[in-house]
Symmetry: C2
Subunit: 747 residues, 2 copies
């Protein structure tokens, strides 16, 4: 029956992407469309005293100049958090489209819409702004001090918009007293940027009829729609957001809005009365869209003499920059996941996100988990060292097992984690650990890290199947394919579960008008949550087909089966095409709506092992090999799954060794281009071995779990462990640049 599920069939979007004919938001052209650019604050914190747009408005070819004076001043949150309204969740609304109080260098002051980008850029230079500079703060610890400048005094009397989030289990104070050894460490994490290929972009058509249509690179069209309806005080039904088929990478930076591209384009379109395209330059993309939270994570881990973990205390202070966006949720996920890998009676976590005058941090693949995992795994290795235990054995001894009590709201189903550790260790040749010579210029080391990630957020997932009159099948879901291949996986699931050939299925790309509500492509949720909805819709469709066929063939539906588009039973057979045509001639169309059988999360598990070689002369860490073993439940498309994990490893390698946005003294980010921001290149990619562990998850579709983020989570921790194995010291800060490695070696 499963011709496609489990097979690594080619991505259905591959042809267009390889041929260069795939269309992105950058490519959208509408009749009469204007181009835009944005005036951004040169100060990290200031008050606009006056703004004069007269000269800009007078320039021929300029159709609109938007500022805080003439555009919506409704407060919003550019992340998707506004759309994910759990009963008790009230997102922090602290952003406006154009501000009169910039809070970081790059904050949006004004926008221009003009016939050409050149005219818009020219007009931008004609805007006269007088600023009054305000005091600034860039470090989150400093921002917590009582005399620190307040960023949002009208919203919050302190710089921690979400207060303190805690996780508690047992009593850590007593717990640590009962421990034989206690390890403590404090780790500093950098600003990492998604640096996705397609910069933030939107084309908005604010029609005079009161409708707003937005082509966007968002990874969550429906939430984007909700946010735009809020900003412009419109009915959601009159706002349409769609991917113009493709999205050029996302990694979290486009959940909700693509920076503010949608809101800027819409505000300018409303003023100009014509469609407006807003495309961020690479510099704007770096400086003015969400990044990964930098900050500090302290960890205290206590164990018994035999190695049994007993108490864990984690503190996180995360720098969310000028606005909250997803900050609060990132702190929550960090705490929940860092406390759910190892079994422990006593657990405490407290995390806070802090406003500072730098660019905003928000969602980024892993969503707080890489930060927490980096610290936690250092502590695990620290305990191993203190007890002279093998780090692998210590992990196997302490990892959570099926049915364990843990702080999370979903049941602990961790069947595959032990196997992941064993496979990763085997792949990296673990017996070499601690055995490399510590002499000569080049030092080798290997390290390992356990990890988990959540997958899910099934909320509101829905899939609609429509059998066309020729027997082909339309699959509609409200999610995007941001490059991960989920659309192909959807085709595999629907084709096999309904019983038609894959090439006769077609997936609709996300468009709020033509797809059911969905919160988007993130949280490693597409395959899991939408997959569940699709499973349900497919079963219902198959049932409809068989019921109809049973009447046609005068058989019981139970006697019939449908495979590869052919329905067989008794001595007769008909094709799904014949059946669909027959039904069409009788005015019957088969449409099914499917929903997930659960609305929760589940956990994925993985272990990553790294083999590194350090040049002690230059400080360069050369990763020789990464082995990653992932328990993904069931690989619907093994090639896609491996691709996801490989991509995550490379991004994790960048996080470990190269990537960091640094902030200069005035608050200006230094590296805002591919030239200055050190992404891994092809030459940095090590040998990678991906091991898929398939422990079917009973809550997932066909046992599957999502793996969009998990590849990223533990890579930096594993590399740091290998570095420690090589040079005897655990780096407490990433990226582990040559400079920092040399400093460690020198110390």
């Amino acid at each position: 029956m499963n011709n496609n599920i489990g097979n690594g069939i080619s991505r259905q979007d591959a042809y267009e992407k390889v041929r260069g004919v795939a269309g992105y938001t950058h490519d959208v052209v509408l009749p009469g469309m204007l181009h835009s650019c944005v005036l951004r604050s040169p100060y990290a914190h200031a008050k606009v005293v006056s703004i004069d747009t007269t000269a800009a408005e007078a320039l021929p070819g300029v159709y609109a100049v938007g500022t805080y004076k003439n555009t919506s001043s409704r407060l919003f949150n550019a992340s998707g958090v506004m759309a994910f309204l759990a009963p008790d969740l009230n997102p922090v609304l602290d952003q406006v489209i154009f501000t009169d109080c910039p809070r970081y260098i790059g904050d949006e002051i004004a926008g221009i819409a003009a016939e050409t980008e050149e005219i818009a850029q020219h007009a931008l230079r004609l805007i006269k702004v007088k600023y009054k500079k305000l005091p600034t703060v860039f470090d989150p610890l400093e921002a917590l001090e009582s005399n620190a400048p307040l960023l949002h005094p009208h919203i919050s009397s302190c710089n921690t918009p979400g207060g303190v989030y805690t996780v508690n289990q047992g009593d850590v104070a007593t717990g640590f007293q009962e421990c034989d050894v206690v390890f403590e460490g404090k780790y500093k994490l950098p600003i990492q940027k998604q640096a996705q290929l397609e910069t933030q972009a939107a084309v908005a058509d604010f029609r005079r009829s009161g409708e707003l249509i937005v082509y966007s690179s968002t990874q969550s069209t429906h939430p984007t729609r909700i946010i735009l309806a809020h900003i412009f005080d419109m009915d959601q039904s009159k706002v349409r957001v769609l991917n113009p088929k493709y999205v050029g990478g996302a990694f979290g930076v486009r959940i909700g809005m693509s920076g503010k591209a949608e809101a800027i384009a819409a505000a300018l379109s409303k003023l100009a009365g014509r469609p407006v395209q807003t495309v961020y330059s690479r510099e704007e993309d770096f400086m003015a869209s969400d990044s990964r939270h930098s900050g500090y994570v302290s960890v205290k881990l206590g164990a018994k003499k035999d190695g049994t973990f007993h108490a864990l205390d984690i503190h996180a202070v995360l720098n969310t920059g000028a606005y909250t966006t997803y900050g609060i949720e990132v702190g929550i996920v960090l705490g929940n996941l860092a406390t759910s890998v190892y079994r422990m009676p006593h657990i405490h976590y407290d995390g806070r996100v802090v406003y500072t005058n730098i660019l905003t941090a928000g969602a980024f693949r892993g969503f707080g988990n890489p930060q927490g995992t980096f610290a936690l795994e250092a502590a695990v290795d620290g305990i191993a060292k203190m007890l002279h235990k093998d780090p692998l054995e210590l992990r196997l001894q302490n990892i959570v097992c099926d049915g364990d009590v843990w702080p999370l709201a979903y049941p602990c189903r961790a069947s595959g984690l032990g196997e992941c550790l064993s496979k990763a260790a085997k792949g990296i040749d673990w017996k070499q650990h601690g055995k490399f010579d510590a002499v000569g210029r080049f030092r080798r080391g290997i390290g390992i890290s356990s990890g988990t990630h959540l997958c899910g957020t099934a909320s509101s997932a829905c899939a609609v199947l429509r059998l066309e009159f020729d027997g082909s099948l339309q699959i509609a879901t409200g999610t995007s394919d941001i490059g991960t291949g989920n659309m192909t996986a959807f085709q595999q699931i629907a084709a096999d579960l309904v019983g038609i050939p894959l090439e006769r299925t077609y997936v609709m790309w996300s468009d709020t008008d033509n797809t059911p509500y969905d919160i988007g492509a993130h949280s490693s949720r597409c395959l899991y949550s939408i997959g569940l909805a699709l499973e349900d819709a497919s079963h219902k469709m198959k049932e409809k087909i068989l019921d109809y066929a049973a009447e046609m063939l005068e058989e019981s539906p139970k006697q019939l089966r449908v495979e590869q588009g052919v329905i067989r039973g008794g001595n007769r057979e008909i094709t799904v095409t014949e059946l669909a045509d027959h039904a069409h001639r009788r005015e019957i169309q088969f449409v099914t709506r499917g929903f997930p059988r659960n609305n929760g999360f589940t956990a994925t598990w993985h272990a990553v092992a790294a083999d590194v070689e350090i040049d002690t002369y230059t400080g360069v860490v050369n990763v020789l090999k990464i082995v990653a073993a992932h328990d993904i439940g069931k690989a619907i498309n093994p090639v896609s799954v491996e691709g996801q994990i490989e991509g995550g490893i490379v991004q994790g390698l960048g996080y470990a060794l190269r990537e960091e946005m640094t902030i200069q003294a005035d608050g200006r980010p230094y590296n805002t281009s591919y030239h200055t921001y050190m992404l891994p290149t092809i030459g940095d990619i090590p040998e990678m071995e991906i091991q898929l562990v398939e422990c079917p998850d009973p809550s997932g579709p066909l046992g599957a779990k999502g793996t969009g983020e998990s590849g990223m989570v533990s890579t930096a921790a594993a590399i740091a462990a290998a570095v420690e194995d090589a040079i005897g010291v655990r780096p407490q800060e990433i990226p582990m640049t040559p400079e920092r490695i040399l400093k460690i070696l020198k110390d």
Copy 2:
């Protein structure tokens, strides 16, 4: 409860149309879009001996040259008939995109896609074609002769693709023997052209991934999709057809495809690998898209001495031109409707449509009924004259009544026809009939006509309602608004039946990807068929809302009511917005699908009375006043209904007096522009009085019936009756041009 139903609220599309910002297919621009033009046959019947496109292809800027050699040769039918697959209906497939055997002047030989229209036009002149001329026939009676040239010998051994369609009731031969008087007449009908404002157009994007997206001015996106999928041998699910919101008039000429614009654009896009826009010039629109069937209708009506009608025999020979398209169905509707206005024991009809070497005839508002009605009503007036009876009284004596036996498949519900006749007569001051002086230069006369039209084709109608999380309502139907106002009526129905304000509803414009299957905006069916589906979906939505509210308010659903977005019951109230937000936070979305409670037709009824003045010196017929009384069941929006009827009257007036495409000796149509084709202008429009008769139809939504076509049906007959009253002779040919009137006066 009904704040909107029954009110003549403004059309929701009015603002954009009046401001000139409404977007049509002509306005669509896609990235890299090419422009196209079509090489059309200069001969009415020929064989392409050779075609050389080398020079055209070599011209810089030319991306594709399509001919019969390199484009799909699958036979199709450009009308929607391919999509309306009743169990026993097999449409005649006799068209290809580009032909090597042109059958009329204008037939498509080749197409060019180029950077600009100018380059395309230049390239067109570089194509070298050698034709071998074939014998031609232009008159349908001649085409029936045994030695006539055959147009489609490979499909049909005669020029009547559908054979002979008959309607039979009783035995006419016996019937006529039993009559006291028998009237016989033969009428010649012209080619009328829809002449809608927006010429036929499409923009096709045939993606290399194997998907086809077509923006089109079609009035039936879903059927267009089915036809395109057939032509290009693709899965329907991979073809998307959408109105780019607005359609610039239709009148039947865009059911199925817009001429062949969609197929031409798609074929060229497939060759070029880029999007292609095909926009017909006004000349092409006239010469190469469907028109109203010209032809001959003979009628024989027999009555008893007391005026009781007893036998009716009608013969129709319709000229369908070079291809069948809707020809067969037009002949069927003509016969069915002309035999269902008057009660009669003996009825016979036979109709045939005939191929000739002129432009194709197809669907046009009224769909055969104006032709049949013109002949039938002449016969009724003929009997009145023979029996010296008042034509109004004779009609009232013989019209069908509720429950009468008739040839149609749906029950006779004719409650309003008598009232229509009385009101039209009263409005025109009927007592003057036959009393005007027959002296002097100017002669006045008044006449009346009864009429019916079918409304329905509910087949596959469906409406989907989605309550957004802010309490606004999305209405999705697969139909288009071709200018008739049905979208506004849908909003009125949904708003009132669900219980929310009209401005909080939003209607999706037709797009096969985002709307349920529907056969389109034609057959006077939108308000009736989709209205029924919407009624069902609205009731279901209201039920969902009240059930949810009942839980929130802890009341029984039966105690609650929802009006204007507020749910009340007991002592509490909540808004639909609060309810939707509450549900959203619990991951519940309200979506309902509604279907018509019947899949059939119903009849609308009307009477039209005309008051004319004839200048016997010039032969000009000046219509002084038209009174039209229409039984439309229930006027959902009386202003829109009156507008529809007025538009129909004006088009009927053109049919009666001015409009005719004439064919020259070689088969070339003479009038292919607004300059030469005599549409009525503002100066020709008479005083019009519209009387709405509301006899609720139990089969319709809220008792309503559709009235898209009925205004057109009887106008010509009423004017001809008035002319007869004025000059004593019934014209047997329309349009009643000055030349023809002078000839009658001279004879």
